[in-house]
Symmetry: C2
Subunit: 218 residues, 2 copies
Amino acid sequence: MSRKAFQRLSLDDRRRSLMEATLVCVAQFGLHGATVRRIAEEADVTAGLVRHYFGSKDEMIRNAYAYLVGQLTARASDSARRTEGDTDLQLRQFLRANVTMPNLSEQKVSLWATFIGRVRYDPQFAEIHREGYREFLNLLEALVEPVLMAHKRPHSAAICKRHAIALNGLIDGLWMEGSLNAGLYSQALLPDILVEASERLLGLPPGSLSKPQTTQEQ
Amino acid sequence: MSRKAFQRLSLDDRRRSLMEATLVCVAQFGLHGATVRRIAEEADVTAGLVRHYFGSKDEMIRNAYAYLVGQLTARASDSARRTEGDTDLQLRQFLRANVTMPNLSEQKVSLWATFIGRVRYDPQFAEIHREGYREFLNLLEALVEPVLMAHKRPHSAAICKRHAIALNGLIDGLWMEGSLNAGLYSQALLPDILVEASERLLGLPPGSLSKPQTTQEQ
DNA sequence: CGTAAAATTATTCAGATGTATAACTACTGG
DNA sequence: CCAGTAGTTATACATCTGAATAATTTTACG
């Protein structure tokens, strides 16, 4: 009886593979149904590796959570950074990236919600959440401030923070609702709803973000 | 050796008691840690009763979820209904009720998120979610329409729905962020942020909802 | 080419979990 | 006051779970 043939992966590759398998299983079966054995099978390894790479199942799940959060903000942030120069367009792209694929996915929202539920009773989850939230809020503030300035709107630090909080709430809310209620209304509406709502929240003239002046929509 | 003394409760009381114990345990330990034994202990009964009243643990948890969702919307809806006559004030109260106690609580949000995570892979959870969402959206549309009309703003069915979607996103987002990030910024700001943001979303003159004309703020 | 170290598998184990069943007891109606 | 019923407890059980350990195989290196 021969053992299963296997391949050695680099530390980073194996860890990533395991974290991704964890996310797949949590999304498919919930935290409850995501057993070490199932995750290992998804990653095409045996359960022992979890201990080897993460020490415990909980530690692996925490790492997977941080991995997910990082991915989500990175995608949105990249979208904005890709449009250097025009501050309006940067904010617009950042907003839209949060409510379009790949960030707008039922699986991602589902995962996020599952993990958020754990923030309350697991201090280490709380720490990961806090970190991720702060980073997202800072990103948003940094994008909002120049836009307000360009449009000659009040842009004190306090005002920017307040706007960032409201925008963040709007983003998260629409992101969730949009992903969870796919089918109830067209998801194509979401980016427009978000951008238009953001204009209003920031007190910008209608169309400032929807039809950037300096660049042509394609 | 005497058995534990016990009291017979009516079917409704016992079921409610078990559902509330379920919510307490899920909030405290997550779906994973909320075992039948712990829930039974919280309700001060033995585990066998779960089978007797709900057939299975999963069925009990589903009932607890529906119970929670109903409670949340009922609280907000009641807040609005308590202010008959002034449509602006009704909308205002509805909005505020969603981001103030008792609805604004880390435990409620945590529970809600935990359950949402299950919507994706459990069709029966999806059904409960869909139902609750539709009800909330309808409530919101019914509140928004007269306000728009009174302020002579466009108020077609389509426009109302669009506004309701955005508002719902904003509410959920701020509700979550506010509950999860207690401490990062004052929760007292939330109702004001939400009301002000809603005015802007609906295109109402500043202060329409924050300082209702017919009634004096106290 | 061979050898040691590290990665991976296979197996084992103690404990927890959901549920089924049997025994008991509080309430109800006569 | 007494019996029957159903709510409730107590116990048993098969299964699963996370983790620990031992055995094996791949890879790196001299």
